[in-house]
Assembly symmetry: C2
Homo-oligomer: 500 residues x 2
């Protein structure tokens, strides 16, 4: 069979698998957004069937043979070669874990998850320690099955961030530990900004409508997406032509919706910018979790918490809430949007303290994998870290070690991608300011098209053409540097908090 | 392998196929209700992939072997035997048509459909005649492939209504032709009722909210369903625990929403009443299109257009629209709800004239299949029939022979099920009045639980345990009789129109 026919076969299989995965994404979206309460059990089995079908297609031996055959052909285009290489990597990784091992993890995941729920209800980590311990044991086995050069954690990190290793992350989080505490000390010593005006009554519909206006202005295409309410905001994609976001509204805290909506919008703009013609194939998919997060953080923080952004949007926001915001000027608003304060909950943390939350989880995960921390000691270890880096202790487990769901599902290695995303975002934004003339004044005037185009050209169009680090290298001339973020944060907060 | 293990295998396959079909139903619902406009092309391929996967499972030779093996076992429960028998029938029917023939029909369907759209745009049947002719030729071939005892139309009818034949339907539609014209003549000679109050301004949200109240009172479970807007009202099921309805609102015609919402509610109550534990298997599925339609017509017409119903609901409706309805009493409302008037469009027809629309389509389909009518003459044949039975002619093809989409998709044999549904409904309602003490006064008091229970026990719980006719026999002591409908219609309209 000639290469073009073979490639056609490959494309048919990957796109079919994408159809099942995207159908599952529609069912998942519906479950969070509109499904009636009694729908859960059957929806669960429908989702499982779709996921299993996609998995079956992508792990079939015949598919592996096809990929091997294609990998040996020299008459494919460069793009085709790249898709085949990526898919072969994925295939080999997918095949590493025996089916009965995967089943063990799945079953343990559901036990750990329900024990986590129960432990949160009882507000008692010890209820959960044993099941979490079993999950950690399985993840250690998984690391051995995958294999690794240096640290077992490397094997797990790779699931969430291809190529990430302890030896790449340690230097970055060392910088977090060395440089961020000074900034935080300076900020907490300074006079706190006032964000109390966020805590008035802001009716639901107006908040929602304003967020639609922001998304539209950012360049989010509502003919290829929509925004709905859900309990936890998320974005999801069924194809580049149908990428949706959700949000939630707290009528007594305006800050709850604003930046989460921009954040999800950033994720969605990435997915809307992936190339249609590569649907279902590596060149049609996002690079990595960290680059995905770089897109959301770019919009949420670098853009959405900038003074320029609010010079444009505050007057608009005031037309939605004239009474509540009449006494608020843009400086006040900008400072409130950037209030820094140590707090217990990661998902509610500000731009600076956020990375302590992640660094702590990174250190704990690493130590768990190398047996330097025992699961049963996690609550104490957690509190020691929080006291050391954030100067606060959780009054209970629910606001401490039990706050995140990730570990119950066996997601070890996921957390670091959140910080990497922010750091990539700062580095990309630095570069965008160099590449785009007068970027700040464009933002001030609500002109985002050039910036979106810059992201499309530099990031979105490539799909998985480059790794996170290759992409960063291409865009900024170097791999990830913590210094971009640190400079960004120092400058921003020095101005906001009048630091020396 | 023992029978219980074999049966387990069978159940796994059918339920997996149901998962794919139900996932497709979710995607279909979303497409009609919330999908952004650019989502169509990829959604189309996702739907096709899901349908193909379900079809593949249910036509695999190994599945057929399993069914044959199970059909020979004598140690299955009666329910298991019934599921296996039905599934084997379905399998054999599914396997009758060669794959390349199915593909031809699919391709022709998409050509005929787009030509139908074009012909409607040009308001000219002749644009469409040739492609429709090709579809009819294919359907004749399909009848030959299926085989039939008497009339080629029988083979096609069976696709929509198992066991229905020309020799069963001819007597029924003969009665329509003999008995209904007299009633219609009497009505049109009488003084017309006044329904002009429907044509005021009724705001969208209040209409929607009222329809929710009606559905809730009927017994529709909103924890296992929801109502949304769509261009054409429909109901759809993803499992008995998630059955949804849609509606549309015409702010200048209250009648547009009211009965369509009750109609879809009737369909949905049936699906919510199917047994959970038979999910994906014949005993968990609706009997037939006609019995499905009997459930919607039962609620829409026998109940929802009765005087008792509006004695209860009109005062409620008046609280939604106090200004618009203040001068309307229940007699006036009841008469307006039952206005009979010959009209051109089937979907907008009243309870009496509706069956002329169906009968005409039945006669035309039969004649097309037996070569007694040529496709190119359809526009004339259509108008002759409408003149003869309804005393009106369509001023153009769009309101005439081009009004329905069915034929473009190759759905020949579907239309009769609409009338059968109404006739079954009248016969069931007759019986319900005998079985349930004081049914009318219960309706007058908004107490629908006993009636819903009666439908659950007599119809819903059985899934496909009985055929339409067996079910009718069990419930009413005889097969379908047109006389139930005719008596119901004569009594109702004699009273409304003061006939002799």
């Amino acid at each position: 069979m000639n290469s073009s026919e073979l490639y056609q076969q490959y494309q048919t299989i990957t796109q079919k698998a994408a159809d099942f995965n995207n159908a599952a994404a529609v069912l998942g979206w519906d479950q969070e957004v509109y499904m009636p309460s009694k729908g859960f059990p059957f929806r669960g089995r429908q989702l499982a069937t779709l996921a299993a079908q996609a998995h079956e297609l992508l792990t079939a031996e015949s598919y592996g043979n096809l990929l091997h055959e294609l990998a040996g052909r020299d008459d494919l285009t460069e793009e085709q070669q790249h898709n085949v290489r990526c898919s072969l990597d994925d295939y080999q990784k997918n095949r590493t874990l025996p089916a009965d091992f995967i089943q063990q993890v799945t079953q343990q995941s559901s036990r750990s998850y329900s024990t986590w729920i129960e432990a949160r209800k009882q507000n008692n980590f010890s209820v959960y320690a044993r099941e979490l311990g079993k999950m950690i044991t399985l993840k250690k086995q998984q690391a051995e099955l995958y294999g690794y050069a240096t640290h077992p954690y490397d094997a797990l990190l790779d699931d969430y961030e291809k190529g990430a290793t302890v030896s790449m992350l340690d230097p970055i989080f060392s910088e977090v530990k060395e440089q961020l505490p000074t900034l935080l000390r300076q900020i907490t010593a300074a006079r706190q900004v006032d964000d109390s005006f966020f805590l008035q009554h802001f009716p639901r519909q107006q908040q929602f409508d304003f967020s639609l206006e922001v998304l539209r202005t950012m360049g989010y295409d509502f003919d290829a997406g929509r925004q709905d309410y859900s309990e936890h905001p998320f974005s999801t994609s069924f194809a580049p032509t149908d990428v949706r976001v959700t949000t939630r509204v707290d009528e007594h805290n305006l800050a709850s919706l604003l930046w989460s909506s921009i954040h999800e919008g950033g994720h969605a703009l990435y997915e809307q910018g992936l190339p249609d013609e590569q649907y279902g194939m590596p060149l049609g998919a996002a690079v990595s979790l960290s680059i995905h997060e770089s897109q959301s953080r770019f919009w949420e923080n670098c853009v959405g918490r900038s003074l320029s952004f609010w010079k444009y949007f505050l007057p608009k926001l005031q037309t939605y809430f004239p009474e509540q915001l009449k006494a608020v000027n843009v400086e006040t608003f900008y400072k409130a949007a950037n209030k820094v304060e140590p707090s217990l909950i990661r998902t509610e943390a500000d731009e600076v303290t956020y990375h302590f939350h992640v660094m702590i989880r990174y250190e704990i995960e690493k130590a768990l994998l190398s047996n330097d921390v025992k699961p049963e000691d996690l609550s104490d270890v957690w509190n020691t870290y929080y006291q050391q880096y954030l100067g606060i202790s959780s009054p209970d487990d629910r606001q401490g070690v039990l706050q995140d769901v990730h570990w119950s599902h066996g997601s070890f290695g996921y957390f670091p991608t959140y910080s990497l995303g922010s750091f990539y975002a700062a580095q990309f934004f630095d570069q965008a300011k160099k590449d785009i003339e007068d970027l700040e004044s464009k933002i001030e005037n609500g002109k985002f098209d050039e910036m979106l185009h810059w992201l499309r050209v530099n990031v979105h169009q490539y799909g998985r053409r480059f790794t996170s680090e290759e992409l960063c290298q291409r865009i900024t001339g170097s791999g990830l540097k913590f210094s971009s973020f640190m400079n960004y944060a120092r400058n921003k907060f020095a101005q906001i908090y009048n630091l020396q």
